[in-house]
């Protein structure tokens, strides 16, 4: 019984803080702003990626419109040529 009391007393006895304990706590506190910075960095990177995606989509759309314009221009021009050939052929007769 006495041995148990002695063990309890030892366990509850006041102990000196380990060396650099305060410095370690302060350093950990100073590290706290980093997650905020990371969050901002992540948000900025996401925004940039979204903007890049929209820009790429926009460019592809503009290119598709230009291709369509070119295709229709050739088509209408060739139809015009066909008409002229037909007309010339009819006039020859």
């Amino acid at each position: 019984m006495q041995d148990f009391e002695q063990q309890l007393r030892d366990a509850l006895a006041r102990k000196e803080q380990p060396p650099y304990f305060e410095a370690k706590v302060l350093a950990a506190t100073r590290r706290q702003p980093k997650p905020v910075f990371l969050r901002w960095a992540f948000a900025t990177a996401s925004a940039l990626l979204i903007a890049a995606g929209i820009w790429t989509d926009h460019r592809a759309g503009i290119q598709a419109k230009e291709q369509l314009q070119l295709a229709l221009r050739v088509t209408v021009t060739e139809l015009g040529k066909v008409q002229r050939t037909v007309r010339a052929s009819t006039e020859e007769e």
Partner: protein
């Protein structure tokens, strides 16, 4: 089940075969040509282009309406510096596809003077035009246009003078009386 799938595939095969495929062999003509137009627009690209056409702009709206029923536009045009850079055999694979029951030639004219051969084909089904093909061969130029999907040629003609497209001269009869 396999039998059913086979029957479905076989019944759908002629539909696929009706589409005009521009042969890859034509691409080799690009090396000899001084000017090349190569446009390949499938349904997805047409849809994307359509998103960039404004309903508020009358020209854009007209084109948007035109491409609504289209599945694809394919254009190959080669302009050469001198004659004889391409042969009839280069065009033959295209003609062979067009000489099938699915396609009807609505215009076919050969001009002796300019040695120009113009042909317009339409693909019809259920009383509607489901495709348009234009084949124009000139001594120094070869043009093939294939439009897949529901197309109104009149609508195409109306595009002349709009959307950066030259106006077609439609003052005289188109001469469909000279069809085959």
């Amino acid at each position: 089940m396999i039998k059913l799938a086979l029957i479905t595939c076989l019944s759908l095969a002629p539909l696929g075969a009706q589409e005009l495929k521009i042969p890859a062999s034509l691409d080799r003509l690009a090396a000899k040509a001084t000017e090349v137009v190569d446009v390949t627009m499938d349904a997805n690209l047409l849809q994307l282009a359509g998103r960039f056409l404004s309903d508020k702009n009358p020209d854009d709206a007209q084109v948007k309406k035109l491409i609504e029923g289209l599945k694809g536009i394919y254009v190959r045009s080669f302009e050469f510096a001198k004659q004889g850079e391409y042969q009839d055999s280069d065009v033959e694979p295209v003609r062979a596809q067009l000489h099938t029951p699915a396609w009807s030639r609505i215009v076919g004219v050969r001009s002796q003077k300019s040695n120009e051969n113009s042909e317009v084909y339409v693909k019809t089904g259920n009383g509607k035009i489901g495709g348009l093909a234009i084949l124009v061969t000139e001594p120094k130029q070869l043009t093939i246009v294939s439009i897949e999907g529901s197309i109104d040629p009149d609508q195409l003609g109306q595009l002349g003078g709009h959307f950066g497209i030259p106006k077609i001269d439609t003052r005289k009869e188109t001469g469909h009386g000279k069809d085959e």
